[in-house]
């Protein structure tokens, strides 16, 4: 089983400047692994990461948008897979950390646990490319190719928790985080 933070560390090497939409536990890991003004942290409600990412993908078709979803979160917004699969934004890469539990909500099992095949659901929903990983070295070998194929791409990551990172809920809901992202994205869009 892969450790989530180890997966994210490998991913961060490949997307040092990309717009990333991380959710809850992935966000807490990601903020330490790749702190960056183009991290879109303020999602508001559980389940909404993929929809925020779709909005960014539609608003900036020239930019690659990466979403780091959670399994419990995605289950709250499964319809977004069909919305994304229908619109087919080529610049959207959707990762889901599948650990089978609501990690920040008491580590309680999600419905379906580890038996769900999110990548198959995404494929049937219309994603252009889908895959899943459970071995770190295979992920390390394949990630560059995955990031080069036209989207929407869906990647299911079979993980367990890695190192403990601070759960900074203040930052992921703060006006400062939104202002930081707004400034950074407008700078990126203007090319300055």
């Amino acid at each position: 089983m892969m450790k989530r933070d180890q997966v994210l560390e490998i991913l961060a090497e490949h997307i040092p400047e990309t717009v990333v939409v991380p959710v809850f536990q992935s966000a807490f890991d990601w903020m330490k692994i790749r702190p960056h003004p183009l991290n879109y942290l303020c999602l508001g409600a559980m389940g909404q990461a993929s929809s925020h990412a779709l909005g960014l993908a539609l608003g900036m078709p020239q930019e690659r948008i990466v979403v780091l979803d959670g399994d419990g979160s995605l289950l709250m917004n499964l319809g977004s897979l069909v919305t994304i699969g229908s619109l087919k934004p080529r610049n959207l890469v959707h990762f889901v950390s599948h650990n089978g539990i609501y990690e920040v909500n008491g580590r309680y099992p999600i419905p379906g646990g580890r038996a769900i095949h999110f990548d198959r659901i995404a494929k049937e929903a219309g994603y252009a490319y889908t895959c899943s990983f459970s071995e770190l070295e295979v992920f390390r070998r394949e990630i560059k190719n995955i990031l080069s194929v036209p989207g929407p791409v869906f990647v299911s990551l079979h993980v367990e928790a890695g190192k403990e990172y601070p759960k900074d809920y203040v930052v992921i809901h703060s006006a400062e985080s939104r202002d930081t992202f707004r400034t950074a994205i407008r700078r990126r869009m203007s090319g300055s």
Binding site: Y40, C42, L43, G44, A45, G47, Q48, S51, H52, A53, L54, G55, L56, L58, G59, M60, N77, G79, S80, V82, T83, S86, L87, H173, A175, R178, F181, R182, I185, R186, M189
Partner: protein
């Protein structure tokens, strides 16, 4: 002989879909995120679907639209979310957090399905309609009721206000537009 004076009463012209769509364009709305509802489908959603000036984003559930509109606003793209009042009610948590607490310019055009003619929403027999304005008031969400064609101007005013002040707003469509 008793003569009816009904012709002497001049009723305001009913809201027209074309007027509302013109207001969207006037306010530089590029993206319409939508689920169909019976009140707005024929006069607003279908014409928008055929209008190349808009990018239509059909969603499976209304709270997706709240997030999509929020994200688009970071990219300087103006959007509206078109939905039925039941979808508004279903999306309260996303509206509470993303629109209200984050102060994002989410413009919601809400069809009141089942609204009785010649009544105000607050006087509706339908609970789902009667509670809409009190819910908006409780959240501090700006809310306007549109019935007449003269109200179409409120659409562009509300959109411009929302984006200039980074605040959400709800426009309740209380009669089926022509």
């Amino acid at each position: 002989m008793v003569r009816s004076n009904r012709s002497a009463v001049s009723l305001p012209a009913p809201l027209k879909g074309a007027s509302l769509i013109r207001s969207l364009k006037q306010s530089h709305v590029e993206v319409v995120v939508a689920l169909p509802d019976i009140v707005t489908c024929d006069a607003i959603l279908w014409p928008i679907t055929r209008d190349a000036d808009f990018t239509l984003v059909p969603v499976c559930k209304e709270d997706e639209g709240v997030s999509i509109c929020a994200a688009l606003s970071y990219c300087n793209r103006r959007a509206v979310l078109l939905m039925q009042h039941t979808g508004f009610l279903d999306s309260i948590n996303a509206i509470r957090s993303i629109a209200m607490e984050y102060q994002m310019p989410i413009v919601m055009i809400v069809g009141l399905q089942g609204m009785e003619p010649d009544r105000a929403p607050l006087d509706s027999d339908r609970l789902g309609i009667r509670i809409l304005q009190p819910i908006c008031s409780a959240m501090g969400l700006s809310c306007k009721v549109l019935t007449a064609d003269s109200h179409a101007a409120l659409v562009s005013e509300s959109i411009d206000w929302a984006y200039e002040n980074s605040q959400p707003t709800a426009l309740l469509i209380a009669t089926t537009p022509e």
